[in-house]
């Protein structure tokens, strides 16, 4: 079942979306283009059918279980979308007068406060448009802090070897050098190595807690002490906040700056690759450097804090104020959950993960950290299965699709060979989890019985496995008229 490209239709396109113009157009001739645009020529019905049918080729949370580790694929409540798409919310121009935006600004202010409360940080800026931008803001603030104190040699950022790729990429973007430290077999960072690398060149350390290995970094207080004593600051990657919501605060752990992924923990939609939101929270000493704008309150009036109010701000990361629609959705979600609801999120995210881990262990799968509690996610290694049968983590991922499950995260973190990083989230029922375990068991049995069958998967999807090498060597990235299909 494959869908033609939208360019292959040859109908009369519907026009007339705009009313009659009030005047005449008078652009100079030499400024105009004279070529034909490559745009679809399809009727409205053809367009609607085309994109509706394309949507049906996708997996999504609304249709399948998505146990992707580190992504927190929980249910996206529909009311969040309804509120974000209220006509006044959609019609508001970001540069409009604040008198016409008090309701919106108050909502943003309250969101800032709620995010401060769940992280234990002093102040929050909502402007970063994704986790990676939040990371950029965090590292940039750390650098700005040191530079303002005249500490110009502090250019090194320490990153665990298991860190998400955005961490070292961000450090480089900020003009820092990256120093990697190893993780031990028990999942905690090697403290001796940490002590060996900190010094007067240390700007800070970037950590996730629970870590990307799915376990709580038990020595966090000691890590914070070591880094702070050396004069560095601590950055918290909030990707795994779902595991600890309402149980502990990054601020209490000693972190100086935190980014949150609203499209993970606070359930805003993943949208096929964004938009996300990477709000960033800081302790008091980093407050002067917060990216602008953010909302401040003057008496009863809500206004935007700008560079004029915060001259040491690291500046603007967005043309406007960040992904407002995403922020509205997160706000609605947080208000619906309330205090008890948020505390229950981590209860059930962690319950589901530990149950799934126990079930898979019982079924004979190898846990990466069998002695540790799962946080909201855990890792299994398929290395033995691969040695015995040749079937890899990638093959399992493809086979799961035939059972109607999106694969867990594969091959991340890089430390564990043939790994699957599994995060069920709190919105999945026990029934869904049992179904996933049954599918995994089935695939394992097939791997030992007839490995080739597994290696042929997926068999029931719109396409079989795709030729990645061809896609990279002979890139076909744009359709051109006259191309055979």
């Amino acid at each position: 079942m494959s869908e033609p490209l939208i360019f292959e239709y040859e109908s009369v396109a519907r026009v007339g979306f705009a009313p009659e113009a009030a005047g005449e157009s008078n652009l100079p001739e030499d400024a105009l283009r004279t070529d034909e645009l490559v745009m679809p020529r399809a009727s409205e019905l053809e367009v609607v059918r085309h994109f509706t049918r394309l949507s049906q080729l996708n997996f999504s949370i609304d249709t399948q279980f998505y146990p992707l580790g580190s992504c927190t694929m929980k249910y996206n409540p529909r009311v969040c979308n309804r509120v974000a798409m209220l006509p006044q919310n959609l019609a508001r121009h970001p540069l409009g007068p604040v008198e016409h935006g008090q309701g919106f600004l108050q909502t943003m202010y309250e969101l800032q406060e709620m995010l401060q409360a769940v992280t234990g940080m002093k102040a929050v800026s909502l402007t970063p448009m994704a986790g990676a931008q939040g990371e950029f803001a965090g590292v940039a603030m750390i650098r700005a802090y040191h530079q303002r104190r005249g500490d110009h040699e502090r250019v090194q950022i320490i990153v665990p070897d298991a860190a998400h790729g955005t961490n070292p990429a961000t450090a480089t973007m900020c003009g820092c050098d990256v120093v990697e430290i190893p993780t031990g077999d028990d999942g905690d960072i090697d403290l001796d190595r940490l002590r060996a690398v900190v010094g007067p060149q240390t700007a800070g350390i970037m950590l996730t807690n629970p870590s990307t290995l799915g376990v709580f970094e038990r020595q966090i207080a000691e890590i914070a002490a070591i880094v702070h004593e050396a004069g560095g600051l601590l950055y918290y990657d909030g990707a795994n906040l779902n595991a600890i919501l309402g149980k502990t605060l990054p601020g209490d752990m000693g972190f100086d700056v935190v980014h949150m992924n609203l499209h993970k923990t606070f359930s805003t939609p993943h949208g096929g690759g964004g938009p996300g939101s990477g709000a960033v929270g800081v302790s008091e000493r980093l407050e002067p450097f917060l990216p602008v704008p953010f909302v401040q309150k003057e008496g009863n009036l809500y206004t935007w804090a700008t560079e004029a109010d915060y001259p040491h701000s690291i500046g603007r990361l967005s043309a406007f104020m960040g992904n407002a629609g995403v922020l509205l959705r997160a706000y609605v979600y947080m208000r619906m959950l309330g205090r008890k609801g948020m505390e229950r999120v981590s209860d059930f995210a962690v319950l589901n993960a530990n149950y799934l881990m126990a079930s898979l262990a019982e079924a004979g799968f190898e846990l990466a950290f069998p002695e540790r509690r799962a946080s909201h996610e855990f890792i299994i290694s398929l290395k033995q299965i691969q040695r015995d049968t040749g079937v890899t983590a990638m093959d399992f991922a493809k086979a799961l699709l035939d059972y109607g499950f999106h694969a867990p995260t594969t091959y991340f973190p890089l430390l564990v060979p043939e790994c699957l990083l599994i995060e069920p989230t709190e919105t999945e029922s026990r029934h869904a989890l049992d179904g996933f375990v049954a599918a995994m068991v089935s695939i394992k049995e097939m791997a030992y019985a007839d490995a080739d069958q597994v290696k042929q998967a997926p068999l029931t999807m719109p396409v079989r496995r795709l030729d990645d090498v061809r896609a990279a060597k002979h890139p076909d990235l744009v359709w051109t008229p006259g191309t055979a299909t």
């Binding site: 990645d468 090498v469 896609a471 990279a472 060597k473």
Partner: protein, 131 residues
Amino acid sequence: MSEVPDSFLYTKDHEWLRLNDDGSITVGISDHAQEALGELVFVEVPEVGDTLSAGDACAVVESVKAASDIYCPLEGEVVETNAALADAPELVNSSPYEDGWVFRMNPENATALDEFMDADAYGRHLAELED
């Protein structure tokens, strides 16, 4: 077990060096490296005339799942690059020590070759990595 020709020298980053009669050095990546990367889709070569220091990342080999830097082993100037790799990067996979050579350079200091591993030493290095 990957191939490790006797006549070459090796670095711990899996590059090989061949000393040519005219004193220039040809550089490529080892059989072990090409196998780990998988089928190459692109090779970024340095520019002829570039002056490089030892340890400079001067080329990139890219497969679907990984992109690795090739580090310049010695200080010197690039005098030739393998033009065939533009259309056929997979030559590095099929013939890593011959047709898949990446670049050739004139070293500043010819005696600095002592610090590299010979075939036996590299073979032992690979064996250690397997564990």
